[in-house]
Symmetry: D2
Subunit: 347 residues, 4 copies
């Protein structure tokens, strides 16, 4: 691990024949506005500026706009709080009665949507019995269509509380509106930010003012760097309790709903100290792909998984397209336990 | 154009050997919950259900989850208000003193960010002289990094108002927080929803309660259908004044910042009656690609363009990476005028 | 598993008000040209045709072109030979002295390029000692640039043969030219078709005439269905010995070279009976991501892995960007052994 | 335009604390193997090497592999022959009786496949009358499925020759096998390399030995740089007559078959001196999108278009899904003529 001061730096390649005065202007700007040390190397017909100091606040776009600049290249990542370079040890997110990122894997299970008190309490008992240590379920649902069911809302949160009271399982549920932050802080153990809101910066900023653990799902077309920058919003605001969740990215492939990017697990682990979990249910949309990919996620180094489980009385003999029946989930957790051991962890 | 009642329909292909009782359950569910007429065709070892009636409120996912269902296929689009099938005529969005979607092309020009009153007033005068009929400029900026300049905020809106007072140009500026809707309705002519907020449904719902024209940018990885569904949120809420803006999608290509999807123009025009404009500046991030693509956009049928223009005193002799100098913009509008004529329109 | 005759079918949705005579023409065409049974269902103002029989030879595009057709939808996959529906049991590819797809995992290791006889022989010994059961190495290299090293060619093949003679490891190496098929059949154990040639149909057709096992890498932007169709070319030509290799697809993410699509493993396993292996080295381009993803691949159900190993005397103390040093590879195989056990397999 | 010698250069950023001896090894390697001048700049705890000289033959991957290297960055493009920096003037490709890239736009029209002599001769007459100056049509068809029609082959070429004899239109048709190069050189005016073969380097190398104009379609997931590198293969082999053809890239969007990347036109025009044409028929797969996008392509600076035209006696009253009827094509060429004038060109 390196000293942050000298490492957080940037290279600016100047255009051949760049006008001397404009280059001097640029250097002065970098020195005075950002207190950077600027080293200049002159080649036969091009020059390079090497910047020493904290460039995380330096916006590269206006630099790119300068007429003398050919290319700007970050040598160091633009995030600080969530950067492993500055915090070599793994972060363990702590809630009341649970941790994420420690030896024990997080296994978050439950239905896509809370449908009734009866449903969520019954399911909470079953997933707990099968080995889950978190209950997930949507009360406020972000839906592509304005005509589709948008969730039970505040009533759904109440049912989740009941299920928690009955089982002791901490609650993970999604927030969709910045105006609900206070409500969620009161009622929820882990506040989930969905893929569509990963760059809802107003929401991230409000969550940064709380101390409640935030599960930040990766946006459908977010690069890993952008995802970490969104985590940085929360951390920079004062809330270090961020858990990242890989849930598939959008690609050309249509055999699965999205493309689960398991490479993101070792990459994020190297770039950041935050815990990362994986959601194979939403990523693939295929119940029969959940088990192999959940096990693979743990073997790739994930700190946990999020799995959709549902019991449909009308459909009692089969799994749905995306969600598992409690019985199937129970056999998945058996496999996860073996994978956890392989990785020196527990379930 | 077809009769909506019978057209808005869906096909459900059942699995071979689907249990009779479960199929009957499904049919009853569709009839009673959605008042649909269900036609059944039985083949040698598979069956199909054809649904007649309004299926826009029908969520396909739980249907897919049913054990007897192999595939669900929409024959008709899930949007209604913004669907050309039900509103054959082009929508012309009307504001006070302007229209978008009528014969005259919308030319929205201005800086990425409002930096000062002086800057925006001076630039407004120049873009107006060059042929722009809208002033764009960001007051609240959604930034990937929490450490980058987030815009002048409310002060920026005030400067935009001054620029409007001086030039008469209506203002287009981006909203980033649902709590600002009331403020924007008071001060802004066209409220821009940025790509990152295209599926911020809480925000779309609030904008649907107003009558202010909304410029809805396409999300970085949004399909055209999802984009139209987001427009449907606003329209279904009661605000028909939606303008779509294509601004590039995220692909593997890195030569341009995003990939401008000009095909989206004829596709949207066929699927929807809403006006659509194109932003080649953000799509490409390359000032020298703005002119050819702005002209191409008009020739592809767009109702207008949004172009970034900036004057940088320190950099007076060149265009930036993404934005044009006012002089260059002026030559672009000359070309746009010729393209408008070719398309039977005016500037 | 279903009876192929009735299952390989297709649905054609006709446009509302489709002209009766043209529909009759279409039905006659399907009956006479493809011997299909056509079932027709008439709704209030649209109709559906259900096709019964083998539609794999039926090209959907000209059907789509017909003026009366709204949509064509395959219910069954267009591949036969490689389709699990018709061959429920896993295929085990047999070569002289090796199998792929049976209980023992295939571990293919070696350098990107054969550089010298000394290099490849020395490395072959080391990877064998570490647990590899195949030697990989490129003799003919497909290079993006005409100015880059294109491989040692036939001389490289000779060195691979020497390495095989010394170690007994079967050879996997890439073919880049249809004119080399005969040469490769004589000298190589497993002929690799690279991502760029996945749809070089002339090459696939020639390989279909041989019996040599073919390792078919997935194209950078190939869907799983297209990949299986390319396998079908080889199998339909008479060579059933096809091994699929997932090696990453092209997406917007740049933190890894490509995006490893591990979901493809369970998906391919369900759609096809062919063995599938995974190449995490090329997929990520990051040596430190190879171990977690190789282990994850095995846990996701892969029949083996392909790993780049290289020893660089000048660089003896570190792994390269993409390839592992033999020592590191040795520790990876230890982990793979544990993962194999978890999956009820051996190394 | 700059002097090539000093411009074709590269930046290597070394890791902090890079071992002196290994850095010296790297510098010596660059000097002796590639005759490069290496300039070194030392910062507080990192160093940069600036390379002066021709780095096009320098493969960056093995450099990246070195343990002392953090990042390698090309300042100059890796292509030479097709690089506008070294050939400022537009290339005009010359064939017998035609040019591509000069004032007159290339309008290539015809069916997807040659079906019969009668069909192609009749269609050739009609597209010529409508304004086409090239006849396109496939004789050898690359098909995803081995069971689909693979074209008439050599017989199809013969029919194309007849159509040329009757109309004088030069022939553009696709090659799919390196063994056909000689045949195509004898019979074809412009040899088309399809998207799937864009990186079939064996084929490109053979075409580089001829002088016949080559129409190089962009691969489905090829970056613009890779596309230009494939053109470089042909040019470096000795055939400067390369025409680029943008035909859509693969993205997540499904409303169009591929995503037409019109930005590629101005980008290619800036990076290269080669002519570039656009194929909106294959890109979108939607006949009604062909006209607006063909016109847009010309306005974006394309040197021509390739359009699918087909007459289907059974379907005489409508356009197909992708191809235009001759009558519709005729109205498209009227629009193209107007667009050509706008651009200072002719049809």
């Amino acid at each position: 691990m390196q000293d942050g001061r000298t490492e957080k730096s940037m290279i600016i390649i100047l255009k051949p024949g760049a006008e001397k005065q404009k280059v001097d202007d640029l250097i002065r700007f970098l020195q005075s506005e950002y207190s950077l040390e600027v080293q200049r190397m002159d080649g036969v017909n091009y020059s390079i500026l090497g910047l020493i100091g904290d460039t995380s606040a330096l916006d590269t776009e206006p630099i790119q706009e300068r007429s003398v600049v050919k290319k700007v290249m970050r040598v160091q990542e633009p995030y600080k709080k969530v950067n492993r370079a500055f915090h070599p040890d793994d972060t363990v997110v702590q809630g009341s009665g649970f941790t994420i990122g420690a030896e024990r894997l997080a296994v978050m299970a439950g239905p896509c949507s809370v449908e009734s008190e009866e449903q969520i309490v019954s399911l909470a008992r079953k997933v707990k019995a099968a080995g889950a240590n978190f209950l997930r379920g949507g009360a406020f649902k972000p839906r592509t269509s304005p005509y589709n069911f948008q969730g039970l809302g505040e009533e759904g949160l109440k049912y989740l509380e009941t299920a928690k009271a009955e089982t002791g399982l901490p609650i993970v549920t999604e927030i969709t509106n910045v105006e609900h932050v206070e409500l969620f802080v009161r009622k929820v153990d882990v506040i989930q930010v969905g893929a569509r809101n990963m760059q809802n910066f107003a929401l991230l900023r409000e969550l940064g003012k709380t101390k409640t653990p935030v599960l930040l799902k990766r946006g459908l077309s977010a690069t890993i760097e952008e995802w970490l920058m969104s985590a940085e919003y929360i951390a920079a605001g004062g809330n270090p309790n961020v858990v990242l969740c890989e849930r598939g990215i959008r690609t050309f492939e249509t055999a699965t709903r999205n493309t689960l990017d398991l490479s993101a697990v070792p990459v994020v682990k190297r770039m950041s100290h935050l815990p990362v979990i994986v959601d194979p249910s939403h990523a693939t949309g295929l119940w029969w792909a959940v088990e192999p990919l959940a096990v693979a996620a743990v073997c790739a180094g994930a700190d946990g998984v999020m799995i959709e489980v549902h019991e449909s009385p009308a459909e009692a003999l089969s799994d749905g397209k995306q969600s598992l029946l409690p019985e199937k989930f129970s056999s998945v957790t058996q496999k996860l336990k073996a994978a956890a051991e392989l990785m020196g962890r527990t379930l």
